[in-house]
Symmetry: C2
Subunit: 206 residues, 2 copies
């Protein structure tokens, strides 16, 4: 909040409104009017933002990790957001939340906070364009490999506890297609699969 | 500019910087540092924003029409935009341009202008999410039909002068696939094709 150049008095007021919260892996939060939480800072953990088709198919807009801010958890503040965004913690996470009303007030009062808001939204626009680009231009096999590599990034391990269903839901694909691709990647020696664990063998070389 | 609550003096200064420009159909403008034009208001015409893969495949991020503002033509102002956006006029167009430097100044000086900037970016985020959603969840046939219907919207005619190649480039598909789909749509009586013109027959019912 320092970088927003908020006055000492206001800082005290707003810092008192910030609260910490833990979420288990798999917990969903929403951004609809009734559950518009506010600006979320991920202290540790990971969160995926995704959309759902009318028949229940899912696809990730982006994944946020430790140190990232989630602005779509406050999308009730953004009057031109016309899509329904869903948020799910994909790791056990601890976050700090600045409630929407307070963030809105700071954003309206301090130009630097509004600029922060704008910069954050630009980042998310870039994230979604990246997802669109992968979906349009990459093979499913390359998308799965990129997803796995991204998932182990900064983790200090090459092993992932993840189901084929979870990968399918993230990539807007079908479980059967993902299983087929993983089998192929295993055959190519890029990954190994045992008891619900996927190990990435080519993390360095890709 | 009135709605940004800009002072009378500033309004005079900035209105003098706004200029009108005409672009022929097919004209490309870019958003890179060297050609960052500014905030564009489409007086009449249409513009598509698209990305290109390393091997030259294209896909639309969104299409803007008469009355829309294009902010990505000023993406040099947005420090967190990491993708290269391409802009192409898909109809003969007339636009008003507020140069980036001036828009940046107003946006920094007036909170309402910054909010306008933020709202515009939210809209474009929604547009890109819509594109991602179509690509992930809709069949190519449905995407082509939606594209055709969207193209004739507000046009007062059901005829389109458009090549299969242009449709392919907009939808991130191959020309052959588009030709196949159009043939199928023709067989179903939804469109007719003659001498480079596609006529949409089911505009009302879809």
């Amino acid at each position: 909040m320092c970088s927003w150049e908020v006055s000492k008095e206001d800082r005290e007021i707003y810092l008192n409104l910030v609260y910490a919260k833990n979420f288990p892996k798999g917990q969903k939060i929403f951004s609809s009017e009734t559950e518009c939480r506010g600006l979320v800072l991920i202290e540790y953990g990971a969160l995926r933002a995704y959309i759902i088709s009318p028949n229940g198919k899912e696809i990730n807009l982006f994944v946020l990790k430790t140190g990232d801010y989630c602005i779509l958890s406050a999308s009730c503040m953004l009057k031109n957001i016309s899509f329904e965004v869903n948020l799910e913690f994909i790791e056990t996470s601890s976050v700090f939340i600045l409630p929407s009303k307070a963030f809105n007030e700071i954003s309206n009062k301090y130009k630097k906070a509004k600029q922060f808001h704008l910069d954050l939204l630009s980042s998310r626009l870039s994230n979604v364009v990246d997802s669109l680009s992968s979906l349009a231009f990459m093979s499913l096999s390359d998308r799965v490999m990129a997803f796995l590599l991204n998932s182990i990034q900064n983790k200090g391990t090459n092993s992932l506890y993840i189901t084929h269903e979870e990968i399918a839901n993230s990539l807007g694909s079908a479980r059967e297609a993902i299983s087929r691709v993983l089998k192929e990647l295993q055959k190519q020696g890029k990954i190994s699969q045992t008891r619900g664990i996927i190990e990435i063998l080519e993390a360095q070389s890709v």
